[in-house]
Symmetry: D2
Subunit: 260 residues, 4 copies
């Protein structure tokens, strides 16, 4: 049976990225407490295609992902996946994006009831021709923001809303930043964290906390920038904040990116 993909291509164009998107697979993620968490990943996996090949072999992408779907992974294993797919497709470079919901236990501030909250996370990995592996950790953290202007000018009350802090970071190669720690750092920059389970005494607490701690979308960004600049292991970050304004049908937005 003819192998069309392996045939020679004469257009002289090496393609930067070829592969699969929207592959859904269960994966097992290493968590800070030494356990593993089973997650549902949506994956994009691509390699470069040399100019002389007509096509890449897409079924090999599924084979590699299926294998790794069985074993606990973290940043290091993301590098292994990339090296394996590059080897199997005779590619020089490989790129992966894995998006998944990751659950972290939250303790209500007063009642101390516990419950789990889902965070949208991403692993982005790249290997280059020279073998260099780079890894970016991403997370979206839902928080409360309370408007300083509304609080200042109103006799009582202040508009507040759910916000999303969407963050990507790179850390030093020999260090490691856990999702659990990154989330805690980010929640501390908002007007208040959010929780799945709050009793009345907790609701009073977070309402007053947010009112005591008004923040524009600009304040959330600036305080996060300060926290990241101080962090010893983070070398690059990209932070966005989106406020789903309770008084509008559009969102307030800010974004900042820095190589330290």
């Amino acid at each position: 049976m003819k192998d069309i993909q392996s045939m020679r291509d004469d257009r002289g164009i090496a393609i930067q990225k070829v592969g699969l998107t929207d592959v859904h697979l269960p994966f097992s993620i290493q968590s800070k407490d030494g356990q593993h968490q089973s997650v549902l990943a949506n994956i994009q996996l691509t390699v470069d295609l040399p100019h002389n090949f007509k096509g890449t072999h897409m079924s090999r992408f599924i084979e590699v992902l299926n294998d790794w779907s069985q074993k606990p992974i973290s940043s290091k294993e993301v590098g292994h996946i990339l090296r394996e797919i590059a080897a199997r497709t005779e590619a020089q470079r490989a790129h992966i994006e894995m998006a998944f919901k990751y659950f972290i236990e939250k303790t209500a501030p007063v009642s101390k009831y516990t419950s789990v909250l889902d965070y949208d996370c991403t692993f982005l990995g790249d290997i280059l021709e020279d073998g260099t592996f780079s890894f970016i950790l991403g997370v979206s953290v839902p928080v409360t923001s309370l408007c300083p202007c509304s609080k200042e000018i109103s006799k009582y009350g202040a508009h507040n809303q759910r916000s999303t802090m969407r963050v990507k970071i790179q850390y030093q190669q020999d260090r490691f930043v856990w999702l659990e720690d990154l989330v805690a750092l980010l929640e501390a920059q908002a007007s208040a964290p959010i929780y799945p389970l709050l009793k009345r005494e907790d609701e009073k607490y977070v309402t007053e906390l947010a009112y005591d701690n008004p923040k524009f979308v600009e304040d959330v960004i600036r305080d996060t920038v300060l926290a990241f600049r101080k962090h010893p292991d983070i070398v690059w970050f990209d932070v966005e904040c989106i406020n789903y304004e309770s008084i509008h049908n559009h969102n307030a937005y800010a974004r900042h990116t820095e190589f330290k």
Copy 2:
């Protein structure tokens, strides 16, 4: 060239709905001020298929929609579209769902600045074997809700958030309810309406209005039910309210449906 669709089918199954979904077309909607508004519609159009035909002729659906895409439409014209597609496909029944964003001018409460706000609207139409035409008008209205519990138990402040009121109504055949009037009725049931453009004096006003007017998702539903029961022309309604809780990552929700 053979007409496969018109061939005889022997399985003896009349299909209830056959047609197209996700057809995107510009349409022109009659507005309350006597003008027309150009909207972008996402359309589902189906007919029944008698047991003896193998298939319906899908290109006729596009022809009918293309024609009506040129002319201003309202509920009456939705009936004309349905009768036309039923006639062209030799069907007894036809059903349409048109979803579109409709813009209504909003005046800021204090500064009186004007701006336009988009509302997600739907026209749902049905004709039956006996020629009966029924029409349902749907609209989603973004509003502010402020939590009565949070206000009561906290020393200051109260959590509030963007909410969506999602409503469908049927009115008496010889009457008419304008989207503009339906939206105004609904906005009056929330803690506060929302606006695209607010100056500082307006922001103070809506912040205090919401604080003076705390409502659970249950309150929004009950007050809307009361308003609909009083409305002389509305004969059936379905109302949902979704609060995108600022202190949680899930939503509070309520729904109620009534034939009056």
Copy 3:
């Protein structure tokens, strides 16, 4: 601390559904092989609210869901969840919708390579005033459809595309239908099933299978209706088929619902 939700309401309106939507939690689903599969569920849980209460207690919904998040569930346990939330909120009726991706192993038709495919599934449960529990099982199955008209009129080739069969069923109270069996029944009604992992010999097989087996959206529906009518345990079904036409930017669609 005042319990606002428990206060008396004087509007005289009992609300049909009050609760939470978009709760994300891991759940464990019983699979046909006697194992459990860890899934990520998106949940809507509601109860009715008697006319005399101002509000329901939303935190109890999270408590009940958190508890059940730890234990393997199937239809029977869905009933337990509903009875528990009704009891905890003094409600007469309760309703749940759980949506989750469920993985089933697929064996490539010729090479016999195995891989897992994700299916979007739903559990819908209701309990009524009289204690009756009803359960609906839903699943979306991606398949290939190949157009009989295109095949007939063209010298060679035939347009084909990815389609989704979206199905809900109810089965007799004392019987049980496994997702694994429902999916297999549905895949047999399309032009060809789809697979995550296909080698060249498999690709040849499914290409020819689809060409030998052309089906309109109407054919897929009719063959599914026939299969469901013959099934001894299914008492009600709702089947939709959506063809993401490769020659259009809209979809062909059909739907049929039946109490047997």
Copy 4:
């Protein structure tokens, strides 16, 4: 009334982007035939915020967009919008993303019936400190792709599917590329274009055209790269192709970016 936004900020952080997202407004786009097309735009508009200001004035963004919502716009006017918002917010840089559906008339290849097809388009504009304005035009074009491997190895038939070509281009400052021309160029690189309205003779034509013209996702990318390299006015491009594989539930994908 205090202007909190104008207050001095002491954290010393200039924010790269502050503004609004998900603003929905009607806009009027200049079309190639000298007319204007009314579109529904989803807009992100941001400016930089100097380190010494606490916040930007978000209501001014809506005012500027409202004004421009009334007048026909094209790339030049996007520059005017950016200069205006930068001036009104005392910013050095401004960035806009406008996403909208744009309709282009399509003529069926044999029957010559006409209908309109919607294309997802984007205008991306930037002005920098030195006043430089750059503009990127984006469009997503739905097409048919037919698999060369499936055609080669199968006795008859070949799997094909709907694909999306997602393209961004920059052209020389003193030149102009119309959406209508860009779409036509892209449709020529696929196995076959798609149409909203096809009669039987057209369906035969596009079925055979695709079969005569098999293309991997890699072929679509390479042929597009060749076409763009030859185009006298295009100086930069980014092209993606996504095949919604009819035999899988994931997508084949390729991407290539080039400064010429």
